[in-house]
Structures are given as structure tokens and as C-alpha cells.
């Protein structure tokens, strides 16, 4: 069986699924993309940092109108994971204002995005209600 691949390279699937940030060695600023340098202090040395999987919803929107091929409605959110802000969808929750609220406690969860022609599954992540 072909090993599953993460949707993005900052999603780590083994060792308990979690997100891995590039942390500036000098100032501690965290990033999820490939870096040329630190936007905060201009340092160029980074180390891997494990991001907390528990968080709190700091902002959200329920997107009803998006590009063709994107299933709507879905909840897009900013989640504060112990001081590191993460962009992600809220999943395993009804996408309506009665079930999603600011400040709600969530935790990282993964799901299968799809399977490619080699039989490999792509694994995505989102945040689900902690309670």
C-alpha cells in the first residue's frame, strides 16, 4: 500500500498528527511556508517547532460562495494554538452560526482529501470541537 501524503508539508502525519512550523532561531517568529528569512527580525536561521494541537477559535467565517469545485458552506477560521496562529477549516461541526462560535475550543483533526492514481491518499487537516 502506498503511504499517505500530507496535503501540505507542514502537516506531520506520524508521531501523532500535528503541524510543524519554521521558527526563527533569533526571535521565535513562526511560519508555515518555505522561508528566505524572517519578516520580523531578518534572521535566516530556522528550526522546526511542533505546534500545539489544541486551540481556540479567534476568528471565523462561513463561506457560502467560493470557486467552482469547492464544497460550500464551510467554516474558515483562525485558531490560536497556544500562541501560534493557524489557518484552517473547522470540521466535524455543522457550518452554521448556531454551532460555531468565537472562542470555542478546538483540536487538530485529519481527514482524507482524496486518492491519486497511484493509490496514495492525501491527508488534510482541520480543527474539530474539543467537546
Amino acid at each position: 500500500m502506498t503511504a499517505p501524503v500530507p496535503l501540505v508539508d507542514y502537516l506531520v502525519l506520524d508521531d501523532g498528527p500535528h503541524l510543524r512550523a519554521h521558527e526563527c532561531v533569533n526571535c521565535g517568529a513562526r511560519y508555515f511556508d518555505r522561508r528566505n528569512g524572517c519578516a520580523s527580525c531578518f534572521g535566516t536561521e530556522f528550526r522546526d517547532a511542533r505546534v500545539a494541537t489544541d486551540g481556540e477559535v479567534r476568528a471565523f467565517t462561513i463561506v457560502a460562495y467560493a470557486a467552482p469545485g469547492i464544497t460550500t458552506p464551510f467554516v474558515a477560521a483562525v485558531v490560536d494554538c497556544d500562541g501560534t496562529s493557524v489557518r484552517g477549516n473547522l470540521i466535524n461541526v455543522k457550518p452554521d452560526p448556531e454551532h460555531v462560535e468565537l472562542g470555542m475550543k478546538v483540536r487538530l483533526a485529519t481527514y482524507v482529501v482524496g486518492t491519486d492514481t497511484t493509490g496514495a491518499e492525501a491527508i488534510g487537516f482541520g480543527f474539530e470541537p474539543a467537546n
Binding site: 501524503v5 500530507p6 496535503l7 501540505v8 508539508d9 507542514y10 517568529a29 511560519y31 508555515f32 511556508d33 518555505r34 519578516a39 520580523s40 477559535v57 479567534r58 476568528a59 471565523f60 467565517t61 462561513i62 463561506v63 457560502a64 460562495y65 467560493a66 470557486a67 467552482p68 469545485g69 469547492i70 464544497t71 460550500t72 458552506p73 464551510f74 474558515a76 477560521a77 483562525v78 500562541g83 496562529s85 493557524v86 489557518r87 484552517g88 477549516n89 452560526p97 468565537l102 472562542g103 482529501v113 482524496g114 491519486d116 492514481t117 497511484t118 496514495a120 492525501a122 488534510g124 487537516f125
Partner: protein, 400 residues
């Protein structure tokens, strides 16, 4: 020698659907009327700064010159997202401050009718094999899977974040802001939409990205705006009528977003706006309490709320109470978006950062007709382009 710069002439085209006019037609209409309003011709203009964001091939400035006057002057074609118009104006102002010329022309133009989503409007189909690509090593499109790239969704989160921080926000509150701007638009014949909308109509309209329904989003439309700026020394040689109608540029500030935690997760539209406002008030030597009217960047109803705070029109954290007090209605203490704002006047992107200046100038000159803010002396115009760039201009009525 005074380095003050004045707006001598300014014009905004009718915003809306302009199917028979192309980008150059609209830019020419705005530029020629601004020149006429200033009482000068292209022969006087020493610098042209022009912006058109979505038109494809560059060179709107030169294309415009070929219709209204090829005089060989330097042209700056500028692009700064929704702050493009303000950037063009500031470029012309900088040339005058640098002493390169006495007159400058700034033009912003856009054709956007029927465009739909400007970002997040498409996502590539998944490939046959998962292969990591780009800076996130993504094996498939992430829009809709890891948050949203759509502007209504991004700015919805901006407003919700403010609510999380300070409390007091709700779907209804944001809709009430839209209700205000749509009510204001009924007095602006150049607005794309001039229909008053009830709170019920706004809340029950098509949901785009909660809590923003369609009328709470800026309206894609066609339009242009242009301004002629002049040096202080040259203005003193012009007619008394020109001096009387000239509007002083008391501050012209442009900022970008300084790094903040989370700013690469959700754009931080707050810090750069607050920085621009702080610099603008200092440069102008006035405070927010002195403003007779404000045109701010209500690209979405959720955005207007946070900018009350960012522009320091209220106490930190006090935007909800400030709005609920009625302060930002046309008859309030700090009228905001009496033009109808982007939600009803429309948002032809590169034109917006000059059109908002036009609105303020219109009031400072006492020429705003039925929507005139009585005895307006000082106004502020704000735009923000995601990415981000923020332009803040403070304008004062001539003492002449």
C-alpha cells in the same frame, strides 16, 4: 519655501455599468474633467501617475496620454491593490514636493462590472498524482481546504476577530453598518447603487461569507477618478477662484503591514492603518476629533467597524459603542462614508483611492449638494489594499 501641495481639480465618473466605455475612455473622462476643474491643460502637467489593476497589459498612463495629450512628461504606472489610486495620487504629490514640477495628474481607473470574486475565484483541479508544489509543499489546491482566499471571507474574519477581542459584534451589527451606507448612497447620484435597504433586506439577502451578505460587500463596477495637484507657490499665482476652491493636502501617508504574530495567517489590516493614521494626524497637526467627515475603506461591512478603531475615531475597543451611538451616520458627530461607501457607491479598485478624495473635496468646497456636510473644514480619506498597503490623506478647506 512652503512644500504644501494642493488639490486644484478633481473628478469622479459615474460609477456602475459602463459597457460602452473601455478603460482608457473612463480614464480620459476623469482626467479631462479634472483638468477642466483645475483650469489647466495637459501642457501644464509635469508628471502623470496612473493606476489600473485588473486591466491586464500595463501602461495605462501612456495609453491615456495617447488620447488626451502626449507631452513627453514622466509617467508612473502604479499598482498597490486597492490602494492603487491613493498611491498614484501620492506619487504625483511626491514629485511636486521634490520640486520636480508644479502640476501633477493622478488617475485611477477600473472595469469590474460582472467580474465576481476577485480572489479565490478559481482553484485548479486536483492532479493525477500528489506532488508537492509551492511554498507550502501542497499536493492539491488549499483554498477551501485550509481556510478561504475569498475577500468576503478574509474580511469577515477581520471583523469577527475584532468581536472576539472586544465583544459586542453580531451579524445584525455588521448589517446595520451596511444599512447606514446604503442609506447614505441615496444622496449620491454617482454611486453605482442608490437604493435604500432595510436591515431585513440586507440580512436576508444572499449570504456570501458569514456575516457578510451580498449588500455588505463592495460592489464591483466600472469607474475612474482623477486629480490635479499643484505646488503652493504656483497656486499663489493663480486666480482667486482657483485658490478658493483648492483643497490643501495636509497629510499624504502610505504604509505597509509591519510584521505581527498571525499577519501571515490572516492579513493584519489594523496595524498599518493605525500607523498611517498616527502619521497623518501628526503631519496635519490635527486630531480625529477635528474631522468633519471620513471616507474609509468599507470593502465589507465587517471592515468598516475595525477602521473606526484603527483611525482612532473612537477609543480602543470602542468601535461597537461608537457605531451604536449613531456617530457615523451623516447627521452624526463623525460622518463616515456619506458617499455610500464601497458597498453602494462601488469599488472600481484603482479608482477608489482618488474617488474617496473627490468625495471629501466635494464637501470641503461646499459643492456636495443634498448630502453636503455643513461647513466641512477637514476630512480624511482612507484606503487599504490587501497585501497590504494603506493610504491615508487628510484634506483641509482653503482659507482663501
Amino acid at each position: 519655501m512652503s512644500r504644501d501641495v494642493w488639490i486644484l481639480g478633481i473628478y469622479m465618473t459615474k460609477f456602475g455599468k459602463r459597457p460602452d466605455d473601455d478603460t482608457v475612455d473612463l480614464a480620459a473622462e476623469a482626467a479631462q474633467h479634472a483638468l477642466a476643474d483645475a483650469g489647466v491643460t495637459m501642457a501644464d502637467i509635469g508628471v502623470l501617475a496612473a493606476g489600473n489593476l485588473m486591466g491586464g497589459a500595463g501602461g495605462i498612463g501612456q495609453a491615456l496620454q495617447k488620447q488626451i495629450g502626449q507631452t513627453g512628461i514622466p509617467v508612473y504606472n502604479v499598482a498597490n491593490a486597492c490602494a492603487t489610486g491613493a498611491t498614484a495620487l501620492r506619487t504625483a504629490i511626491m514629485a511636486i514636493k521634490a520640486g520636480e514640477c508644479d502640476y501633477g495628474l493622478a488617475v485611477g481607473v477600473e472595469k469590474l462590472s460582472g467580474v465576481g470574486l476577485l480572489a479565490g475565484g478559481s482553484r485548479a483541479a486536483d492532479k493525477d498524482e500528489w506532488t508537492p508544489r509551492g511554498r507550502y509543499g501542497a499536493v492539491a489546491g488549499v483554498d477551501g481546504r485550509i481556510g478561504t482566499e475569498t475577500m468576503p471571507g478574509v474580511f469577515a474574519q477581520v471583523g469577527m476577530e475584532y468581536g472576539h477581542k472586544y465583544g459586542g459584534t453580531s451579524f445584525e451589527l455588521f448589517a446595520k453598518i451596511s444599512e447606514k451606507n446604503h442609506a447614505h448612497s441615496t444622496l449620491n447620484p454617482l454611486a453605482a447603487y442608490t437604493k435604500k435597504m432595510s436591515l431585513d433586506e440586507i440580512m436576508n439577502d444572499v449570504m456570501i461569507a458569514y456575516p457578510n451578505t451580498r449588500p455588505m460587500c463592495s460592489a464591483n463596477c466600472d469607474g475612474a477618478a482623477a486629480a490635479v495637484v499643484v505646488s503652493d507657490s504656483k497656486l499663489k499665482t493663480l486666480s482667486l477662484e482657483q485658490q478658493r476652491r483648492a483643497v490643501k493636502v495636509s497629510a499624504s501617508i502610505l504604509t505597509t503591514d509591519p510584521w505581527q504574530e498571525a499577519c501571515q495567517i490572516l492579513p493584519d489590516v489594523n496595524t498599518l492603518t493605525r500607523n498611517a493614521a498616527t502619521q497623518a494626524y501628526e503631519a496635519a497637526g490635527i486630531g480625529p476629533e477635528d474631522l468633519d467627515l471620513v471616507e474609509l475603506h468599507d470593502c465589507f461591512a465587517t471592515a468598516e467597524l475595525v477602521h473606526y478603531d484603527n483611525l482612532m475615531l473612537c477609543e480602543p475597543g470602542g468601535a461597537v459603542d461608537f457605531f451604536e451611538s449613531g456617530a457615523t451616520w451623516r447627521d452624526g458627530t463623525t460622518p463616515v462614508n456619506v458617499s455610500g461607501g464601497l458597498e453602494s457607491k462601488g469599488h472600481p479598485i484603482a479608482a477608489t483611492g482618488i474617488a474617496n478624495i473627490w468625495e471629501v473635496c466635494h464637501h470641503l468646497r461646499g459643492e456636495a449638494g443634498p448630502r453636503q456636510i455643513e461647513n466641512a473644514k477637514v476630512g480624511l480619506a482612507h484606503v487599504i489594499g490587501l497585501g497590504s498597503a494603506c493610504g491615508v490623506h487628510i484634506l483641509e478647506r482653503s482659507a482663501a
